[in-house]
Symmetry: C2
């Protein structure tokens, strides 16, 4: 039985980077803001820990999917804004396509005959 579709495990386990890349495509955001934005957009379904997000941002940057810059605020506090690169957009599209495949497969199995909707 051939393994033509071979879904990458990163996706199954980690929709996190997909989601992060996705919000950064809309606009540049800083770390803390990404967490709050995701909470709002997902109506509190997603609530990334800082300990989860920051390492992901670092690794996405390292791989060239994101760039970052420091920005001053009115106060002494600094914010690190992240910006998605062209390479990052391509990666986003790739992960998004895989998500569709994965999601579709789950639906296919869950929606399969054998029980009503009630």
């Amino acid at each position: 039985m051939s393994r033509n579709q071979k879904l990458s495990k990163e996706l199954v386990r980690g929709t996190t980077s997909l989601i992060v890349l996705s919000v950064l495509r809309r606009e540049d955001l800083y770390g803390y803001q990404i967490i709050r934005t995701l909470e709002t957009l997902s109506e509190d379904v997603f609530s990334l820990n800082e300990g989860t997000l920051y390492p992901i941002l670092h690794s996405l940057e390292k791989e060239g999917y994101l760039t970052c810059r420091w920005e001053e605020t009115d106060s002494a506090r600094k914010r690190k804004y992240y910006h998605i690169t062209e390479k990052g957009i391509r990666e986003l599209e790739r992960q998004k396509a895989q998500w569709e495949v994965y999601q579709g497969a789950v639906s296919k199995i869950l929606g399969g005959a054998g029980h009503a909707f009630a």
Copy 2:
């Protein structure tokens, strides 16, 4: 910011037990058959390792979601059929509902404004 929805991590990481329970709701199957069935239903998107499935079956059985029985074949080979219990069906419905929530949240974020479909 209240955490009213608190999505269980088991789901994010593991749709596996959801999927297994789901196919077993349709009919009793034995382990090896579950793997092949999932490959067929998902058009090769899912391809569980035996080393992944068997421990899951054991743990689902231990938790009372499944029962099992040995069946003889025409040959000397034996098959261990799994059957979903009432408790298992309730667990399935619970996990399925969570999947809908999760899936919806991802879609909401991915489908968000800011880019066309092309």
